[in-house]
């Protein structure tokens, strides 16, 4: 967004926004998450709340709540970029953490993950000379130390829904799933193509088969996630 605001619509730069609801320390809740539930993707989906189009200034937006994690994603663009001619649109991702839990390094890691996921999926050639901005707002986090990549998979799903809401052309729905034992998040398109993978496991895999099992399990889960996302989208008609 341009910082040029000579008509003072945005107010002074050092203004502090009104904050309603929980303070940052209160929102760092650590509800007990049943580990069995982490294995059961269907029960997780039934506990998830999604809403789109809440932020009317943005081209598209989504709001996602699951088990103490609250994420809001807004998409701005395609909008003009200044400078040299570009045939394809450029993507930039910003993550804003209201709970002040996510370190700068992880913030960057998450942004890169989302950017890589979606540059492969957005039909970039449709939007020459322009840029698309993705703004992610993390409003609440549940047990970040253990479930940080769970949060990332939720962010990725919320971004997919926001992009669809914005009317930006994407070649397929990205669905992300998380495995607690190996602390891995994988994003899939077209039922089995991997577009993103991030793993932070402490244990060393015995062999490739071990990892293959995880990919297979998450692949199955991602199909279930994808189906429920499609159900949500189609029910809006």
């Amino acid at each position: 967004m341009s910082t040029l605001d000579r008509r003072r619509i945005l107010g002074p730069a050092n203004v502090k926004p009104l904050i309603f609801g929980l303070s940052s320390s209160q929102s760092k809740q650590e509800n007990k998450i049943e580990e069995e539930e982490e294995e059961d993707i269907n029960s997780q989906i039934s506990k998830t709340f999604i809403k789109t189009g809440l932020i009317t200034n943005a081209n598209g937006s989504s709001y996602l709540e699951y088990n103490g994690n609250i994420i809001s994603v807004s998409i701005y663009g395609p909008r003009p970029v200044r400078g040299t001619f570009t045939e394809k649109t450029s993507l930039d991702v910003h993550l804003d953490d209201n709970t002040e839990t996510i370190s700068d390094l992880l913030n960057k890691k998450f942004c890169n993950y989302i950017e890589n996921n979606f540059t492969t999926v957005i039909n970039l050639n449709k939007y020459p000379k322009s840029g698309i901005s993705i703004f992610i707002n993390v409003l609440s986090i549940n047990n970040f130390q253990k479930y940080k990549y769970k949060l990332l998979s939720l962010i990725s799903d919320a971004t997919t829904i926001a992009l669809i809401n914005s009317g930006i052309e994407i070649i397929d729905i990205v669905s992300s799933t998380f495995d607690l034992n190996s602390n891995t998040v994988i994003s899939f398109i077209k039922s089995n193509e991997i577009v993103g993978l991030l793993s932070d496991s402490n244990k060393i895999y015995k062999d490739v088969n071990d990892f293959n099992k995880i990919i297979k399990k998450l692949g199955n889960d991602s199909n279930i996630v994808k189906n429920s996302l499609i159900n949500y989208l189609m029910s809006g008609n």
Binding site: S2, L4, R82, N123, Y127, K129, I171
Partner: protein, 265 residues
């Protein structure tokens, strides 16, 4: 056997293979339009959706060569019209919610506002594309609700208001250039920018090319293109109406100013 094309679709859904044979063994070809992409499933060319929305299938007339070859009997274009469920979405004539992420292409007709003029060209910002709505959403800075304000009055006031309008306040819109040789199709060497456009005029123009990094290149060298809305006295006067192809008049005062007028519709 033919495959039914779904009426409502989501990104990634296959809509139809490129070639289908109908019952009487003639081959129908489908071509991808807006909101769709060509992809391969098991080495078969398939048209996939890239948007959430309604599917529109329109027949495209065959070219003479295709009729002569007799390989295909009919041709259809598949499009997906984005169905945004948002209170700010606008409806077109057919009641379909139109997509506001569509960018201008070559040959599109656009409505633009003049930002500044020079001897060689007029710099404009693109407001809307005909048949597909506003070019971009305002993001809280009030771009679409743009109102001109006069900071000073008197002899310098007019000049100042031109400068104010010359700068795009939000810097958010796509910009374009209408070069002096693209204003009219005849007597190009006699055309002067000041006798054709003034800052703040609204012009209907056609996209010549998507141009360079900064600007789209636009043209008004047809009868239908030119100034559609203009105010007299550099935007400080009243709304003017065209009386011929190069003059506009304020009905109440009789002031006449020079413009490159669009053919009234």
């Amino acid at each position: 056997m033919t495959i039914d094309i779904p009426k409502y679709t989501f990104p990634g859904q296959p809509l139809s293979p490129v070639y289908q044979s109908s019952n009487n063994k003639s081959i129908i070809e489908y071509i991808p339009g807006n909101g769709t992409i060509l992809s391969k499933i098991n080495n078969i060319d398939v048209i996939n959706s890239t948007l959430l929305g309604n599917v529109k299938v329109n027949e495209v007339l065959l070219t003479d060569e295709e009729v002569a070859e007799k390989t295909i009997s009919q041709k259809f274009k598949i499009e997906v019209i984005n169905n945004k469920q948002n209170e700010y979405s606008e409806l077109n004539d057919n009641g379909i919610i139109i997509n506001n992420t569509y960018l201008p292409k070559e040959g599109d007709i656009v409505l633009v506002r003049v930002l500044k003029i020079s001897l060689k060209q007029a710099n404009v910002e693109i407001i809307a594309i005909e048949n597909s709505g506003n070019i971009s959403k305002e993001s809280g800075i009030g771009m679409n609700g743009y109102q001109q304000s006069n900071v000073t009055s008197g002899s310098n006031g007019q000049f100042l208001s031109i400068i104010n309008n010359g700068l795009n306040e939000s810097g958010e819109n796509f910009r374009g250039i209408i070069r002096v040789q693209d204003i009219r199709s005849t007597e190009k060497d006699k055309v002067k920018i000041v006798e054709s456009f003034k800052p703040n005029d609204i012009i209907r123009a056609k996209v010549l090319s998507i141009g360079d990094g900064q600007n789209y290149y636009l043209t008004t060298n047809e009868n239908e293109f030119g100034v559609v809305f203009a105010k007299s006295q550099n935007g400080n006067g009243q709304l003017m109406y065209p009386i011929d192809w190069q003059n506009m008049i304020v009905p109440s005062t009789g002031e006449i100013e020079l413009r490159k007028c669009a053919k009234p519709f």
